[in-house]
């Protein structure tokens, strides 16, 4: 799996300036000695047996195309009751519904546990009786699409719960769509249906009851269907081919892909061929058509695709692609925004830088706050002292002025007094002295 390293949408990270550079050093090495982790697929092998398997298979097509017979042939047991048996109980239970002119599409589910060589498969088959059986089939696909969506929703809900220890996967892993062997091409109902579901399920179109068509007709019919499908841009399930697959696997896979849409017949009855073999097949006066004979029809290839070789692949694609797309669309519609910043490789150095940046921001904030408080206190104190000083000087000046005034007053008074004292009572001696001094 190649990692797309461009996913570096710098989200609203509180990191200032430099965005974290993701340069991951990855050591690549092929080991010489046997260490043992190559045993992991084997551990999975064992674990998967212990856990068991499950498959939810939906089968859609008009009535009378042999859906039940084919499914029973595929799993080689009666996983679905034959139509006659169903019809009998049907008649008894809901008489009026069969009487109704417009048959509504119903959804039924049948569960079987199949075990083979100690491997268990829980098989859920979902059928949609009534599809295509009305006079107006415009919305026939709706109940089926709703059912597929409902199952996705249920899984999404389960996956989002707080306690999700028991998630029951009910999502449809594969949908077999039965095409009537008309020999012409797809009808508009087929196209409409396939267009509605191909983005939600692994679609496997099959040509039912192919024994009504000659080889030549099948080749032409298949070609017409393929043309329709590709023209309408309908996606059908294709197993992935890997580079490191061996030749045989690739060839086998290619054969399966080339055979689509599979022209099949179904029969659980064993018949005797003209050369005396007992086979599953249908006996006609002109010969026996064998189910398990690749010369006669594509049944074997269909079974390889659906069960033997690609059942797990069907589930993988359901989970990894179809469900993920559905979920993405649904959550986006719900208004949940994608935040790509969470898809980031953990890098201790970047992390440390981030922490440092956070720390520095915190530190500078602290410093600023402390500085503010400090400055404020200092200036308050300074002002107080300055005021004190000013007060002191002012008061001093005031008092001093007052004193100076008083002194001045007194000195004047004194001068006056002295003048009075000296002049009138004894003015004589002084001029004498004065005259002498001069």
């Amino acid at each position: 799996m190649t990692e797309v390293a461009s996913e570096n949408a710098a989200g609203p990270a509180p990191v200032n300036g430099s965005k974290p550079v993701q340069e991951l050093k990855i050591i690549k090495r092929k080991l010489n000695g046997y260490v043992g982790f190559a045993n992991l697929p084997k551990q999975w092998h064992r674990k998967s047996i212990r856990r068991g398997f499950n498959l939810n298979l939906m089968v859609v097509g008009e009535s009378g195309l042999g859906k039940k017979t084919l499914v029973n042939t595929l799993f080689n047991r009666e996983v679905l009751k034959s139509t006659e048996a169903v019809l009998e109980s049907f008649d008894k239970e809901d008489d009026e519904e069969t009487e109704a002119e417009d048959v509504t599409v119903k959804i039924n589910e049948y569960t079987n546990i199949i075990e083979e060589d100690g491997v268990k498969l829980k098989l859920n088959i979902v059928t949609a009786p009534g599809f295509g059986d009305s006079i107006d089939n415009t919305d026939s696909w709706k109940p089926i699409v709703n059912e597929v969506n409902r199952r996705f929703d249920q899984y999404l809900e389960a996956e989002s719960r707080i306690n999700r220890s028991t998630i029951d996967d009910q999502r449809i892993h594969a949908l077999l769509y039965f095409i009537e062997p008309t020999g012409h091409s797809l009808r508009s109902l087929d196209i409409e249906f396939m267009k509605q579901v191909h983005n939600k399920v692994n679609l496997i179109p099959i040509i039912a009851k192919s024994d009504t068509l000659t080889d030549k007709e099948i080749v032409d019919f298949k070609r017409n269907i393929i043309n329709d499908i590709s023209f309408q841009k309908i996606k059908t399930f294709k197993p992935e081919i890997f580079d490191n697959d061996d030749e045989e696997t690739i060839l086998n896979c290619q054969n399966i892909v080339d055979a689509s849409p599979f022209a099949v017949i179904g029969s659980t009855k064993e018949v005797e061929t003209h050369d005396g073999r007992i086979v599953r097949g249908r006996k006609y006066p002109w010969g026996v058509i064998e189910v398990d004979n690749e010369e006669h029809n594509d049944f074997v290839k269909l079974r390889q695709l659906l069960i033997r070789n690609y059942l797990e692949e069907l589930k993988e694609q359901t989970n990894d692609i179809l469900y993920e797309n559905y979920r993405n669309e649904k959550l986006t519609r719900m208004g949940i925004e994608q935040d790509n910043s969470v898809f980031r490789e953990f890098d201790p150095l970047a992390r440390q830088e981030e922490e440092r940046a956070l720390h520095e921001a915190k530190l500078s904030k602290m410093e600023k706050e402390m500085n503010n408080v400090f400055q404020l206190k200092v200036s308050e104190k300074e002002k107080k002292l300055q005021r004190l000083e000013a007060d002191l000087f002012n008061r001093h000046k005031e008092m001093k002025d007052k004193l100076i005034k008083q002194i001045k007053l007194l000195e004047e008074k004194k001068a006056q007094l002295e003048k009075q004292k000296l002049l009138p009572p004894d003015p004589a001696p002084i001029p004498k002295k004065k005259g002498f001094l001069r």
């Binding site: 953990f346 530190l363 200092v378 002295e418």
Partner: protein, 398 residues
């Protein structure tokens, strides 16, 4: 019945898919330095994954400004028999080397929780195709110093914390310093402490329906805690026979010899037999526990206001998700604390200096006042003298 349906082939399909996909495995090594963690990792994967710390560099922590990381990650892509794994080895170099180690486990616990949280956030995104980064730790090897006594309180503390978050595997390091009987008592003491303290260490599951693997698992459990030596040195014991081990004058300790040490058992547990169980139990037990606690606590704190959006018992996590707020990052770096303290100290000193200045200033003011008062007093005296003089003059005038 002519033919089998092919269900028996389903495990092979799984095998094939897993082989193609490869795997991610994250291993954490925990323990004081000098216990041979790096050696062990390199021996385990038979390749020089982790460079050894240069002992001369170790001093730099104390002398230079060089960055020491709490968490060190080595990422590798290894291939064996065409099977690829993306291996992450998490080392915790800063652990246990300080004088006060009380909080030294914090970064480790945070790392584990952060990986769970990161995975949870990624899982909640609408689009998550193949770009999920997963560093959840699948196994944590806790290296115990071979003291021969018992576990230290710090060990117990950390192991308790680890065991609720991760598959914890205690390992006795450098067992070659213990004699076999010492090792046995040491092991049983550790087992007793683990049991008494209710520490939940990883134990391989016993498959009842598979006697061979159950027997193997039993052997593994009995050998716990695993005692290992680790060395990449290869010695030729006999002609053409090479073994990995440690050579002493009195003999050779062989790494891959079950009689000498539990290395092979531990390797089997980590890789050959229980790797998948480690991966799955991390995802299904440890991660789910974290997730439900996390979402559960958010649900109770935000529970009151989302009752109208869902009328189910449990609010769906999409609602929760919108409300999840990024909690402030905890910062443990002791340097940060130091810097904060330094800043505080700087300001305290500034304040002291200013106070000193103010005291001086106040003293000056007092001096000044005294001086001025004296000045005033002098003047007052002068005034008084004048007054007296004036009075005298007035008297004499009469």
């Amino acid at each position: 019945m002519p033919e089998k349906v092919g269900i028996a082939n389903l495990p092979n399909q799984r095998h094939k898919i897993v082989s193609k996909q490869g795997a991610t495995f994250t291993l954490m090594v925990c323990g004081e330095s000098g216990l041979g963690k790096t050696t062990f990792i390199n021996t385990l994967f038979e390749t020089g994954l982790k460079p050894y710390a240069d002992p001369s560099e170790r001093h730099n922590k104390f002398t230079t400004l060089h960055q020491t990381v709490d968490i060190d990650i080595v990422r590798a892509e290894l291939e064996e028999k065409n099977f690829k794994i993306r291996l992450n080895v998490i080392d915790t170099p800063g652990f246990g080397n300080n004088v006060d180690n009380n909080d030294s486990w914090n970064p480790i616990i945070d790392f584990l929780d952060d990986q769970h949280e990161s995975y949870m956030r990624q899982e909640q995104q609408p689009s998550r195709h193949s770009k999920v980064k997963d560093l959840r730790v699948h196994a944590c090897l806790y290296f115990i110093r071979p003291t021969g006594h018992s576990l230290k309180p710090l060990d117990i503390d950390i192991m308790k914390k680890l065991s609720t978050r991760v598959n914890l595997i205690p390992v006795i390091a450098k067992l070659d310093t213990l004699a076999p009987n010492e090792l046995d008592t040491f092991k049983s003491r550790i087992r007793d402490v683990i049991e008494a303290q209710d520490i939940n260490i990883y134990t391989p599951p016993l498959d009842i329906d598979d006697t061979a693997s159950a027997e193997h698992a039993k052997q593994l459990i009995e050998a716990m805690p695993f005692a290992v030596i680790g060395l990449e040195q290869v010695y030729e014991t006999e002609p053409e026979k090479f073994v990995k081990g440690r050579k002493y004058p009195w003999g050779l300790v062989e790494v891959e010899n079950d009689a000498h040490c539990d290395f092979k058992k531990l390797r089997s547990l980590l890789l050959r037999t229980n790797m998948l169980d480690l991966i799955l139990s991390t995802n299904e037990i440890h991660y789910e526990t974290f997730r439900s606690v996390k979402l559960g606590s958010d649900a109770t704190t935000n529970g009151s206001d989302n009752s109208q959006t869902t009328n189910k018992d449990e609010p769906s996590s999409h609602d929760l998700m919108k409300k999840l707020q990024k909690k402030p990052r905890r910062l443990h770096n002791p340097k940060f604390k130091e810097e904060e303290d330094a800043l505080k100290k700087y300001f305290t000193e500034q304040v002291k200096a200013e106070e000193q200045r103010f005291r001086q200033w106040e003293a000056n003011i007092v001096n000044e006042r005294n001086k001025l008062n004296q000045d005033l007093e002098e003047m007052q005296a002068k005034l008084k003298a004048l007054e007296d003089l004036v009075k005298k003059l007035q008297l004499s005038k009469r």
